[in-house]
């Protein structure tokens, strides 16, 4: 594992463990996310990606270990103002189906503490991000699955939190829209925002992420850039697929 210089780390996770009753979802997980980078969490179904993000976003509060944000120890579930700095795009759709796209955006922006004017601006930006400007006044339940996904992402980013957690935001989105989302995320990343991107698609992390954490069954298997991960298994030309296969003994796709 490559340790990042502490000065540039926005988020530090030390020995994070999470149990659901008896079941261990995350075990002794440690990683650091640098300011302005796009950090990938790669792992198969049930690896513990959503659970990890849940701890960071303040949805779960039963975890053990230590989280640091900007150098300070944090407990997001107990810290209201901190949650304003960490945004979440949940894996499952989280929209009011009987409200319009723009109403959803404005409501969540206002709930995140934005003024009316700022919320309006955020909503316009969100509509553009989601490619839904012309459907702004349509109810969400009249949208296709992919459109809802795009809106789901836009709502999560409507208040532009410094750290944005994206939990598989492109599931069910067609290639063009996916491309549109990637371009947006790339530009967010370039503008200095920090992203944690969760997926089980190799191509996505390869295209988007500066560094990648590979996890399986709650445990971190490796962390670093693609090149660093390839080097760590002594196959400098290995694809991420091959890295994963090598680390777990099975392919990511059939797990």
């Amino acid at each position: 594992m490559t340790a990042a210089p502490p000065a540039t780390a926005l988020l530090e996770v030390h020995n994070l463990s999470l149990f659901y009753g008896e079941r261990c979802a995350v075990q002794d997980l440690s990683f650091q996310v640098r300011r302005g980078e796009c950090f990938g969490l790669l792992g198969p179904n049930g690896a513990g990606k959503s659970s990890t993000l849940g701890c960071l976003a303040g949805l779960l509060n039963t975890w053990q270990g230590e989280l640091q944000f900007g150098g300070d120890a944090i407990r997001p579930a107990d810290d209201v103002s901190l949650r304003g700095k960490i945004g979440l795009v949940p894996q499952d759709l989280a929209l009011y189906e009987d409200m319009t796209a723009v109403e959803n955006l404005i409501f969540f922006a206002r709930m995140a503490g934005l003024s009316k004017a700022a919320a309006k601006e955020g909503a316009d930006r969100g509509l553009e991000l989601a490619g839904l400007t012309d459907r702004a006044k349509d109810r969400v339940d009249s949208f296709s699955g992919g459109m809802k996904r795009r809106l789901n992402l836009a709502v999560g980013d409507v208040h532009e939190p410094p750290l944005l957690l994206l939990d598989e935001p492109t599931v069910g989105v067609d290639p063009q829209s996916r491309n549109h989302i990637f371009e947006t995320l790339e530009s967010l990343s370039k503008s200095g925002r920090t992203l944690i991107y969760t997926t089980h698609y190799m191509e996505e992390v390869e295209r988007l992420c500066d560094r990648i954490l590979i996890m399986n069954e709650g445990v971190a298997l490796g962390c670093g850039t693609h090149a660093e991960l390839a080097t760590s298994i002594d196959q400098p030309n290995a694809t991420l697929e091959e890295v994963f296969l090598n680390m777990t003994g099975r392919s990511l796709r059939d797990s």
């Binding site: 659901y20 949805l59 039963t62 945004g87 499952d92 409200m99 503490g113 999560g156």
Partner: protein, 442 residues
């Protein structure tokens, strides 16, 4: 964001969603008003006093075999009874609207189950009346029709005493004396004196028909002394105050539990996760929900009481402060109840089932359906009644509208205190459940 502003924002979202669905909104406001109208009238009919309102009547088939002046007078008097609907009915010109059956036919109808009660005025009715013999009156009936049976007995007695101007009572006395073996000469003397008394009594009651009740009240056995609180709205009866208050609480409970179930929808729809990840205190979600529910409840009750005022003149303007206090405490308790159910339930189905069950039981035991508060209930029922939200607000509404008590009244204060105590305890428990069910494992 702070608790307050976040809660307000959340409440606004809920309310705008609520008002958007026009049909659902109208239903939730019109339903209580419709129910209270039906209940109010129904209860009013069943309990109608002598002031001539419409009334539920018992059906009685009659046949007059005697065909004398006395028997016809009795028959005619039965037709004037406010408790009876006498068959066969008459047309305006005196002809029969229904078939007039003979005594034998009526007996068969009762056996066939087509008629429940048939009164046969037998041959010799006038004769027996004159000679103080037992009257040939037969009630052929299906004993299963108990409720009407009670009404019919009272009505027949009333008509009999009115049409004979009380002679039936003298006759009864005479028969008893004869049975006891008193010599005829003594019996005749007593009969003469009693008849005199009776005629005096009949005269003193003016053009009022002879009424057995007057026998007591007129003679000073029990003097009726009526007192109506001067402030009571002129028309309101205990039962209407009860119906309006009772329906109000029940509908409020139903309406607000339905509204609070949207808390579960927030969870199922995934929006709860997003809300919990936002910089707002989790309590503001619960508080916002409560605020929105409170506003909906307030509109619901306002519509209901305005309708109640319009139809029954229950007197909502007499003491707006007390009415407002009772309304607010009732809404608070109903909101807390709704939140408790929503926080407790793991699925909307659970919430639905539980709330329906609890609300129906509470409404039944707490006086939303029947006027329990004016009765002296046996111990276990009495305790159960006091454990319901309904009781405390129904009795407060009744104390306000019917007994014309005010906020200074200890009973009202106690009831409001109980409602508020419930509100605090239920909200606290709801918050606790909300934390464990929604936060830890969201």
């Amino acid at each position: 964001m702070k608790l307050g502003p976040a809660a307000l924002l959340f409440a606004r979202k809920d309310l705008s969603l609520f008002f958007r669905d026009r049909t659902a909104m109208l239903l939730s406001f019109l339903m209580p008003a419709t129910l209270v109208t039906i209940f109010g009238y129904l209860m009013g009919m069943m309990s109608s006093d002598s002031d001539g309102g419409p009334m539920a009547r018992a059906t009685l088939w009659v046949t007059d075999v005697d065909q004398t002046e006395d028997s016809r007078s009795f028959y005619a008097n039965l037709r004037t009874s406010s408790l009876l609907s006498v068959r066969p009915r008459l047309n305006d010109d005196g002809t029969y609207l229904d078939t007039a059956y003979t005594a034998e036919q009526l007996r068969e109808k009762v056996i066939d189950g087509k008629v429940d009660h048939a009164l046969i005025i037998g041959k010799g009715f006038a004769q027996a009346l004159a000679s103080a013999e037992p009257l040939p009156l037969t009630m052929v009936r299906d004993p299963g029709a108990q409720m009407e049976g009670q009404l019919l007995n009272i009505a027949v007695m009333q008509s009999l005493s009115a049409s004979t101007e009380g002679r039936v009572f003298t006759n009864l006395l005479v028969q008893n004396l004869r049975d006891a073996g008193m010599p005829d000469i003594a019996v005749d003397q007593i009969r003469a004196v009693t008849e005199q008394q009776r005629e005096l009594l009949q005269q003193s009651s003016g053009d009022q028909p002879f009424n057995m009740m007057n026998l007591f009240s007129g003679r000073g056995m029990v003097k009726m002394e009526d007192h109506v609180p001067p402030e009571r709205a002129n028309n309101v009866s205990a039962i209407q105050a009860q119906a309006v208050g009772g329906i109000a609480v029940m509908m409020l409970l139903f309406g607000l539990t339905a509204a609070s179930a949207s808390l579960l929808r927030e969870r199922e729809g995934g929006t709860m996760r997003r809300l919990l990840s936002l910089p707002i205190p989790p309590g503001s979600i619960l508080l916002g929900k409560a605020l929105a529910m409170g506003v909906i409840g307030l509109i619901q009750l306002t519509v209901l009481f305005v309708v109640g005022e319009f139809l029954f003149e229950i007197g909502i303007w007499r003491d707006p402060l007390t009415l407002g206090a009772i309304i607010l405490c009732t809404i608070a308790a109903a909101v807390a109840f709704g939140l408790l159910i929503a926080a407790w339930a793991r699925t909307p189905k659970q919430a639905d089932g539980m709330s329906t069950l609890v609300i129906l039981v509470m409404s039944c035991l707490g006086g939303s359906w029947f006027p329990l508060q004016t009765l002296d209930l046996p111990m276990p029922m009495n305790v159960a009644m006091h454990l319901t939200i309904n009781h405390w607000s129904v009795s407060s509404f009744q104390n306000l509208f019917w007994r014309t008590k005010s906020l200074a009244d200890t009973e009202i204060l106690l009831a409001l205190g109980v409602l508020l105590l419930f509100t605090v305890l239920a909200s606290w428990q709801a918050l606790r459940l909300f934390r464990t069910r929604y936060l830890e494992r969201a």
